[in-house]
């Protein structure tokens, strides 16, 4: 039996181990660990783009790192509301639509956001931010149509009830409240006159309204000829066009309801400082442009300027259409009733 000790002695093993560990030992003082915070967010593309455009290039450099809590928006809101009396909440940043943010602010569960906490908030476009809500992305709701099949684009929400589109009208079921606001805007010039909006929607429904179980499912029907017209965010039109779907946007003459999505910080968030740093990173022009390029949503800060193909796709017509931020005080009150009506009347036919 050969004597292995001659080349693998205890001393040699110790010396080798020391050499291997040398880089770690000689590295000096350990780098300061990034501060972690809990980010309540949607999954899928949105979460991926948050990582690629906000966290990795900007937020990490500011010393914060997210621990994602992925889920639907409404359970996220319910979680914050349910834990509001606890001294230590379960979320630091929650991604929500403006309408939900308003309801949460009314319930007094949100931290106030000031320029001292999030300096970039001063760059937010007028009307999008509130005292407790930091807007991340926005998009006008427009009339979508297939330009290969529809020669004269629809010009108002009422056109969806036109008999020439019978059975060829549709949108995602989840967008029902925004569609109701569009109907309200057409019929009364306000975003929250739902009694009149119901009458308009009933006519659209009688015209063979098609409802789709997800936003993604409402795009391909324009390609198959199942749909000719609908209502959708401008952002989605850009995404569908990029996917080769023949669809175009028409801005309704009565105006466009704005879809605004952003982030809030609960009052009992365990790590507010990290949350503020993340919100500030989210408002940086580079992060905003990343979302515009990849998801088609418009930047919420004046410091981000679109260029190239994205700028063309997301350009608003001249003269600029009427852009309507929903009257959240009225819409959030009406939401339960409209939801019930939608379920029992429109879905149930």
């Amino acid at each position: 039996m050969p004597d292995t000790r001659s080349f693998l002695s205890r001393r040699a093993v110790l010396a080798g181990s020391t050499l291997l560990a040398a880089p770690a030992i000689l590295r000096g003082a350990p780098a300061r660990a990034a501060e972690q915070f809990i980010l309540g967010t949607w999954g899928g593309d949105y979460q991926r783009l948050q990582m690629e455009n906000i966290e990795l290039p900007i937020a990490r450099a500011a010393g914060v790192e997210s621990v994602p809590d992925v889920g639907d928006e409404l359970p996220r809101v319910a979680k914050i509301m349910a834990s509001r009396r606890l001294p230590r909440g379960q979320m630091d940043v929650a991604c929500v639509q403006a309408i939900q943010a308003f309801a949460m602010a009314e319930a007094g569960v949100l931290e106030e956001i000031t320029p001292a906490k999030v300096p970039n908030i001063v760059h937010c476009k007028e009307g999008l931010a509130t005292a407790t809500f930091v807007p991340h992305i926005w998009s006008p709701q427009i009339l979508s149509y297939n330009p290969e099949r529809v020669s004269a684009p629809p010009t108002s929400f009422a056109d969806l009830a036109d008999a020439k589109y019978k059975g060829k009208v549709g949108f995602p079921d989840a967008n029902y409240f925004y569609a109701m606001m569009a109907a309200s805007l057409f019929t009364s010039g306000s975003s929250a006159d739902f009694e009149k909006a119901k009458q308009v929607m009933l006519k659209v429904n009688e015209n063979g309204l098609r409802l789709y179980p997800s936003t993604d499912a409402a795009g391909p029907p324009f390609k198959t000829g199942e749909l000719d017209v609908g209502v959708m965010w401008l952002a989605r039109i850009a995404m569908w066009q990029n996917a080769g779907i023949p669809v175009a946007a028409s801005f309704p003459k009565e105006g466009c309801i704005l879809y605004v999505s952003g982030m809030v910080v609960p009052k009992n968030a365990p790590n507010k400082e990290a949350a503020f740093k993340y919100l500030n990173a989210m408002l940086e022009p580079a992060a905003q442009l990343g979302f515009a390029k990849n998801m088609g949503y418009l930047p919420t800060v004046g410091t981000a300027t679109l260029t190239g193909k994205v700028a063309e796709q997301l350009a608003l017509p001249t003269p600029s259409p009427k852009l309507v931020v929903p009257d959240f005080a009225l819409t959030s009150k009406a939401l339960p009733d409209v939801t019930d009506w939608w379920k029992k009347t429109i879905q149930h036919t």
Binding site: L74, P75, A78, A107, R210, L211, T224, E226, Q347, H348
Partner: protein
């Protein structure tokens, strides 16, 4: 049984019984309590003892119609499963082919895929310009089954059929084949032997398979949502809508109890339809 044996048996059964009680009964008790609470848009759930959530369900025609659709789908799917599954299970049980294991595997195989993924497969088949529509197009026809009750029935049937076949196959396996031979020896034709000898013996097992299938149909969620679309309303998606979209936990808890109670009630009624002498 000796006293020491009884103690040992209790000791062995105790932990499992405790876990079952904890995992089954405790959530039900909690859910039952929630169903008596009151919903508020801001507070979400206010502690109370009220029957308002149950009254709301029984007071509105809409909920009655959703329940009717649910029972209709579950009953139809169970009937179709019996019609298709019974001959298949019987043939498999009596098969002596060396391919028998392979056939069984083919029946089990769909269960390896989640019902959501299977529904996506059906969507590709049923959609406009999908596979079926493409084939129909070759003959100048047109098939668009997406978001129709037919799509939901076919989708649910595909989920439930393996459960029916597997349950029935083991039931038929348990019935001695020599009984049929004896019946044949006494002059009974195969059909008569099946109906007079095998079917009555298998009836308790058939009832269990049908109940299993019915319960699965009553609680179907992914298939009605994906293949039926937003307009096709069944109880499980409605329950989720109330829970998720409205955050109305008290009402969704009441819906859960009503669905459970209805399923249990109908199952018991179905049991009474089987003659007493054939019950297991």
């Amino acid at each position: 049984m000796k006293r020491s044996d009884a103690v040992a048996a209790s000791g062995l059964l105790g932990p499992a019984t405790f876990i079952v009680l904890l995992l089954l009964v405790a959530p039900l008790v909690l859910l039952g309590r929630y169903s008596l609470n009151r919903y508020d848009v801001t507070e979400l759930m206010i502690e109370a003892v009220t029957g308002a959530n149950y009254a709301r369900f029984f007071g509105e025609r809409f909920y009655y119609e959703v329940m009717r659709t649910t029972i209709g789908v579950a009953t139809l799917v169970t009937a179709l499963c019996l019609l298709l599954g019974l001959p298949l299970a019987y043939r498999l049980a009596r098969s002596t082919s060396r391919w028998k294991s392979f056939y069984l595997l083919m029946i089990v195989l769909p269960l390896f895929i989640g019902s959501t993924v299977r529904s996506v497969g059906w969507m590709i088949l049923f959609a406009k310009n999908g596979v079926l529509d493409g084939i129909a197009g070759l003959f100048g026809g047109h098939v668009d089954l997406m978001f129709t009750p037919t799509a939901v029935i076919i989708g649910t049937l595909s989920v439930n059929l393996p459960f029916m076949v597997l349950t029935l196959q083991s039931v038929f396996e348990g019935i001695d084949a020599r009984l049929e031979e004896a019946a044949a020896g006494l002059g009974a034709a195969p059909g008569r032997a099946f109906l007079r000898i095998i079917f009555p013996l298998a009836l308790p097992g058939i009832a269990i398979a049908a109940i299993l299938c019915f319960i699965l149909g009553m609680n179907a969620y992914a298939t009605p949502v994906l293949l039926g679309g937003p307009r096709f309303q069944m109880m499980a998606p409605l329950l989720f809508w109330e829970f998720n979209t409205n955050s109305n936990w008290p009402f969704s808890a009441a819906l859960a109890f009503i669905l459970m109670g209805t399923t249990l009630g109908l199952t018991m009624v179905a049991q009474t339809a089987i003659p007493r002498r054939y019950r297991g």
